[in-house]
């Protein structure tokens, strides 16, 4: 069947004129003259002539009928409807990439079914109505675009099956990235008809917020550099009835005072309840705390609160059990009563449950492994300066210290020192590889030692350097600081103060303690750190405007730096301008704050790896393997519940996660492809240990404000997008779009041909007379 449609179907009524030629013929035959005739014998025609005349008359009449038919059809505006063929089958095939919004806002249920379900239903219907042979690919737009069907396929059943099995929405969506990936898929297509359909909910966040606008600009800049045509991209709003600012409860990102803790230690967690589209606060039904999926308790929520900033801060504490390992702390907000307890007329406060949960992965260790490198070359440990630090971290009388401190003299420090005991993992699954390295009053470092520390820092280690009498200034400045290019945060200017002049000693300035490790000492009287005095100290400076070093604690006198911090690679270095022992005259080891200070600094430096387990989407997964580098038995479970092993070989199929093993200073580490889906990922070891990875969802998703018309117009100008307000409108637009091939001029051509034929035939017949 030729898929021709007409712009004006009413015009087709004009086909009634087709009866005119036969009618004229019949009328002509009815109006005749009568002649009484004698020469009848000459009126007899031969059969051939009679047939020829009949044929000529028939042909002429058909020509005239055809002429009128083509004229009427041409006036009715005929067009070849390739879009309707997209939906009805039987036309030039096209390729379509369906991009689903995978952001959390798609789970909004305020208008009946969730936007995600509506999107699935619409897409399945759309695919079912496609022509056989049309290609489809599917992407799930999240922080990164996830290929659900990364290559164009004509297998509709498979497409529909994949749409049905698509995981629920979470996190945010990066549309420019998804559009770029859709374009890449369509570049393989040789077909002229190519469409990208972005199925979304018109949420401003992700489309037109500041971050998204920047991303669009980058996308457009990239597009200008690339050659080739851009397929049309349609943005269809699957939830057009959604109100402008619907009521929504959500939780702000969960943070912890420590990401690494020792067993039976208490950790403080912070978050906030965020209320959108509400004028007053009403206490939620409950706020559940779960650890490793087990209900622990309900967190108390305030009875009354002001909504000035739209959020209510929450703090709670949790003490971890004796068992070391990876712990998942989850906080789940339930603003509404369970459906069974809701009375008649109950108004639902929250239609978007996806943003009511926050998770945090905490590493609980039996004791934090710390390596103390002492610059003192004497053999008696008790006479060495590091004794005070070691005793503060792991008191000799404490059977179960929270820090497992190991002291070695500087000459013994090398790469193997950081591999720990080198033993297999302890049964808990927590290794004893040092998390923090303390260089205590070390005179100088050999080239090998410098390189080991550099790599340790690059790979996320934490280093505390305490300066003392032995430290060689020139060596530190030339080899370790290197005018800001080395890992040492500050340049050593000179040793200042006099041990005999205690009155001229310097004291820490608590009001400058804004560093997370020192925050608890900021208040006067806590631990009495402000009462500590140092008769002698190193004067430090951080030259250079572009220096990344920051003094994080100061002395009273002349705002001299007490502590200077600098990030190096993925690790951090804290430089202390005093030895933190009794080598120079000081009372610091006697003040109560001494032990907490050292603990805080060590735990702060150890927590740098918090980002390994609580990470934004798209970051690679890292897992520190035991010394035997093997992937055997390791599996990873995605938030949607799919469990797959790891594979070194790059695989195109989705049976395993591609991974590689990177040798680091502290041993091998598994690095796997980006964690693209927001939520909880679980890595399981052959020893039945679980390592949680929390891919943070974007808390901005809770803001359901829709895009304004102006923002959409601006986007349409910026990027090759066409916004469509309703799914049905998209079908209409597709069929009315450029894929519609106007045929009227073909009909006009036919009309001219028929007209010429008619004139020719008439003249020919007249000539025959």
């Amino acid at each position: 069947m030729v898929p021709i449609s007409f712009l004006s179907l009413a015009m087709l009524a004009g086909l009634a004129v087709l009866v005119i030629p036969p009618l004229i013929h019949l009328l002509n035959r009815r109006r005749y003259e009568v002649i009484e005739w004698g020469a009848m014998q000459f009126l007899e025609m031969s059969e051939v002539t009679r047939r020829r005349m009949h044929l000529e008359e028939l042909l002429l009449m058909l020509l005239r009928i055809g002429l009128l038919a083509v004229l009427v059809l041409a006036l009715a505006g005929p067009y070849l409807d390739s879009s309707s063929r997209l939906l009805q089958g039987g036309r030039v095939n096209r390729d379509v990439v369906l991009v689903f919004d995978g952001s959390a806002s798609m789970s909004y249920t305020g208008t009946g079914k969730s936007a995600q379900d509506q999107a699935k239903e619409w897409a399945i219907d759309f695919v079912q109505k496609m022509a056989p042979g049309d290609g489809v690919a599917i992407l799930h737009a999240r922080q990164q675009a996830i290929p659900v069907l990364g290559q164009l396929t004509t297998d509709r059943e498979r497409v529909i099956d994949q749409i049905r099995r698509m995981p629920g929405p979470s996190g945010s969506a990066s549309w420019p990235a998804a559009l770029e990936q859709a374009r890449a898929i369509l570049q393989e297509s040789q077909r002229s008809e190519r469409e990208i359909i972005l199925i979304s909910d018109n949420q401003r966040v992700g489309w037109a917020d500041d971050r998204a606008t920047l991303a669009w600009k980058d996308f457009v800049a990239l597009k200008k550099e690339q050659a080739g045509t851009t397929p049309r991209a349609w943005v269809v709003n699957l939830d057009p009835q959604r109100p402008a600012n619907p009521p929504n409860w959500s939780l702000a990102a969960l943070s912890a005072s420590r990401a690494v803790v020792a067993v039976e230690q208490e950790v403080t967690f912070r978050t906030a309840m965020q209320l959108h589209g509400q004028t007053h606060y009403e206490r939620p039904h409950r706020l559940r705390l779960e650890v490793n999926g087990q209900f622990i308790k309900n967190i108390e929520t305030p009875l009354k609160a002001s909504l000035e900033r739209g959020q209510i801060p929450l703090t709670f504490k949790y003490r971890f059990p004796k068992q070391p390992g990876s712990y998942l702390v989850s906080l789940i907000l339930e603003p509404d009563l369970p459906p069974a307890e809701r009375g008649p007329g109950y108004v639902i406060k929250d239609h978007l449950p996806a943003d009511n949960r926050q998770d945090f992965a905490v590493e609980v260790v039996r004791a934090l492994p710390v390596l103390l490198v002492d610059g003192d070359t004497t053999t008696d440990p008790k006479t060495r300066g590091s004794f005070f630090l070691r005793d503060a971290l792991s008191p000799a009388r404490d059977q179960t210290p929270v820090v497992q401190a190991r002291v070695i003299p500087i000459q013994e420090f090398n790469a193997t020192s950081l591999v720990g005991s080198g033993s297999e993992r302890e049964p808990s699954g927590i290794d004893d590889r040092p998390r923090v390295l303390i260089l205590s009053n070390v005179a100088r470092l050999s080239g090998e030692q410098q390189r080991v520390i550099d790599r340790f820092l690059q790979q996320g280690g934490g280093v505390l350097v305490t300066l003392g009498e032995r430290c060689e200034r020139d060596h530190y400045n030339a080899e370790l600081h290197r005018e800001g290019k080395g890992w040492l945060p500050a340049k050593l200017d000179e040793k200042q103060g006099d041990e005999k002049k205690v009155k001229e000693s310097v004291r820490p300035l608590p009001s400058s303690f804004y560093h997370p490790a020192l925050e608890m000492f900021r208040r006067q009287g806590v631990g009495g750190l402000e009462t500590a005095w140092f008769a002698r100290w190193w004067k430090l400076s951080t030259p250079g405007a572009g220096s990344t070093s920051t003094p994080v604690a100061l002395f009273h006198k002349e705002t001299l730096p007490f502590l200077v911090e600098r990030a190096h690679g993925e690790g951090k270095v804290l430089l202390c301008s005093v030895p933190l022992d009794n080598s120079w005259r000081t009372n610091v080891v006697d003040v109560p704050a001494y032990v907490p200070l050292v603990h805080e600094m060590v735990y702060y430096l150890a927590s740098l790896r918090v980002g390994e387990h609580n990470l934004p989407a798209g970051q690679p997964l890292r897992y520190r393997l035991p010394t035997s580098a093997s992937l055997a038995g390791l599996t990873l479970q995605s938030p949607s519940g799919e469990t797959r092993p790891f594979s070194i070989e790059a695989t195109d199929d989705r049976s395993a996660y591609a991974a590689q093993i990177v040798q680091q200073v502290q041993g091998p580490i598994l690095v796997s492809e980006g964690l693209r889906e927001a939520g909880i990922w679980k890595l399981s070891t052959p020893e039945q240990q679980t390592q949680f990875y929390v891919v943070q969802s974007d808390s901005r998703e809770a803001d359901l404000t829709p895009m304004s018309e102006a923002e959409r117009k601006q986007l349409e100008k910026l990027a090759p997008l066409t916004f469509v307000d309703h799914p049905e409108e998209l079908r209409e637009r597709l069929s009315n779009s450029s894929s519609q091939v106007q045929l009227w001029w073909w009909f006009l051509l036919g009309l001219i041909v028929l007209l010429c034929s008619e004139v020719f035939m008439t003249r020919w017949i007249v000539k025959q007379r």
Partner: protein, 297 residues
């Protein structure tokens, strides 16, 4: 002294318009002829017989009386030197009338005029009206009274019936004992071959044949343009509805072929063929006749 036919105008008028037309035509025509057509005409002497009271005195042969002293009456073989047979087709097809008079009317005038002329020249004229069969027949006579009979018959006749002349003409050829002039007035709408054979039959009997082919201009030109139902004048119920424009070429081809065949084959059969169109003056036929008569001597 030859016998003459007297045309009394008062008596002619009794026979209506046809007689007047004939006379007017003939006399008008003769006025234009300088040489008298009567010169050299004579009657054929047959025998003498005895006078009986009652015979006209003027027929007494006074020379014979002088020699024998008895009254003898001179008798003649015939009262004319020519026997002419007018064969007029009165079939239905002759009734066709276009813008001019009908073919039959035309033939009536021609026949009447010829009869008038022939009698005027003391020729004997007979008349046969026919369609498929002989309707009326008058044997040739040269009396003035005979003219009136001829005219009367012509006047009364109406064209009707089918045309099937060939058998009839054969019949006539057999019937006419003495050779003479056969003048045929017909549209000849029959099979050419059969007609020619019939004409040849006349020729075989040593008759001279003058064929006046009477046709209407519409029949020769077929000038019709609108859809037309042609109804057969001879067979009631036979009708043909056609677009004349589409048919014209075919018709003219058929018609001209027929005429050409008739003319050629008539010529070959030594038949004097003349086409008479009804829009042409009747005198033309008279001219043809006189030329023919003169050439005969």
């Amino acid at each position: 002294m030859s016998a003459s036919v007297h045309f009394d105008p008062s008596s002619l008028s009794r026979y209506g318009r046809l007689a007047l037309v004939a006379r007017q035509l003939v006399e008008g025509f003769l006025t234009g002829v300088h040489k008298s057509p009567y010169k050299g005409f004579s009657v054929e002497f047959a025998e003498h017989r005895q006078y009986y009271p009652g015979d006209e005195i003027r027929h007494i042969d006074w020379r014979a009386y002088g020699k024998t002293d008895r009254y003898y009456i001179k008798e003649y073989e015939e009262e004319t030197n020519l026997k002419a047979h007018l064969l007029v087709d009165a079939s239905g097809s002759m009734g066709y009338k276009g813008k001019t008079q009908s073919k039959f009317e035309y033939a009536q005038h021609v026949a009447a005029s010829l009869a008038y002329l022939m009698l005027h020249q003391r020729d004997a004229v007979g008349l046969m009206l026919h369609d498929t069969k002989i309707r009326h027949m008058l044997p040739p006579k040269a009396s003035a009274k005979h003219l009136l009979q001829i005219l009367n018959l012509l006047q009364e006749a109406r064209p009707e019936g089918e045309t099937s002349m060939a058998p009839l003409w054969h019949h006539m050829a057999d019937q006419l004992k003495r050779r003479g002039l056969v003048v045929i007035l017909s549209d000849c709408f029959d099979k050419v071959g059969e007609l020619i054979r019939a004409l040849q039959h006349f020729r075989h009997k040593r008759h001279e044949v003058l064929l006046f082919h009477v046709l209407a201009p519409e029949e020769m030109e077929f000038p019709f343009s609108r859809w037309t139902e042609f109804r057969n004048l001879e067979v009631s119920g036979h009708r043909v509805k056609v677009d004349p424009q589409r048919l014209r070429k075919e018709y003219l081809k058929n018609f001209n072929t027929f005429c050409q065949q008739l003319r050629e084959q008539a010529g070959q059969a030594m038949v004097d063929y003349h086409l008479l169109r009804t829009d042409q003056p009747v005198e033309r036929a008279l001219g043809v006749y006189l030329t023919r008569r003169q050439s005969r001597g």
